[in-house]
């Protein structure tokens, strides 16, 4: 048996590592990947929460997966449009909303 608190701790560790990457890195692709790491941790937290309630439904996890996919796709689109304007996806170069 795996205690639910272990799953919580693992998800929390992933969430914090992703948050660190989100704060410390400046390459756009790595920032996007760090956000995805955070969402992966959230999915583990949801999994532990589902186990705590005793439910067999995985609907919350499916919602988080949909968010992961949306973040990946929208993030890629935003980075691509950044690249079209400035020819780079380093976030320090994008300090203005208008071109």
């Amino acid at each position: 048996m795996i205690p639910a608190s272990h799953v919580l701790l693992l998800g929390l560790a992933q969430l914090l590592i992703g948050l660190l990457g989100l704060v410390l890195r400046r390459a756009g692709l790595v920032v996007l990947a760090s956000g995805l790491v955070m969402l992966d941790g959230v999915m583990l937290l949801f999994c532990a929460g589902i186990a705590r309630t005793g439910s067999t439904s995985q609907a919350e996890g499916v919602v988080v997966l949909a968010v992961i996919v949306a973040v990946a796709l929208v993030g890629a689109a935003v980075l691509y449009s950044f690249h079209r304007f400035r020819r780079t996806v380093v976030l320090d170069e994008h300090d203005r909303l208008s071109n």
Partner: protein
């Protein structure tokens, strides 16, 4: 009649009871290493590869945690999305993805690191409280600690925000001059 509090557990999908936590933590440590690789690798291309590995390891974890639907979806959908990012931004080499091996740690990032650390401690406290089957009665220590931590965070965040805004404004004025 007294009732004993039962720690919530997740019944594994397969395997023996003793093997499951060992397997869980082995894959868990590997997934944490992959997450650290995503954050710390200098080349963004390698970070994306580490992210795909992380998602695969998380899919195995989800399978162990009796969530096979989520595991399959993680592999198919999420890894597919990451590979799409790869194909759009990385494989065609259209984008300048960053400066390999070059990192800049300035004061703002150092401060934000400590803010993240403090937030993480609050989050660990909250999650560990949620993991307990029954709340401890008659103890307000964690509430007081949480309130004090929130106050300290607010007191740190206010001056830091003011300092960052002032610095940005002065650099803008310097550019205009």
């Amino acid at each position: 009649m007294t009732t004993t509090a039962r720690t919530p557990t997740i019944r594994p999908l397969f395997g023996r009871c003793l093997v499951q936590p060992i397997l869980f933590w082995t894959i868990g440590v590997l997934s944490l290493l992959a997450a650290l690789a995503v954050v710390s690798l200098p080349r963004p291309q390698h970070a994306v590869v580490a992210l795909v590995i992380l998602m695969g390891l998380d899919a195995v974890e989800l399978f162990l945690l009796q969530a096979p639907l989520l595991a399959v979806e993680t592999i198919v959908v999420a890894s597919g999305a990451v590979l799409l990012v790869w194909s759009v931004l990385v494989r065609r080499r259209r984008a300048r993805l960053g400066v390999p091996g070059r990192r800049r740690y300035n004061v703002t990032k150092l401060l934000s690191f400590f803010v993240v650390l403090a937030l993480g401690l609050v989050l660990v406290d909250v999650v560990l409280q949620a993991a307990e089957p029954q709340p401890r009665a008659g103890s307000d220590v964690t509430m007081v600690t949480g309130a004090l931590l929130s106050l300290v965070l607010l007191l740190i965040a206010g001056p830091v925000t003011w300092w960052i805004l002032r610095r940005a404004r002065s650099s803008e004025e310097g550019e205009q001059a």
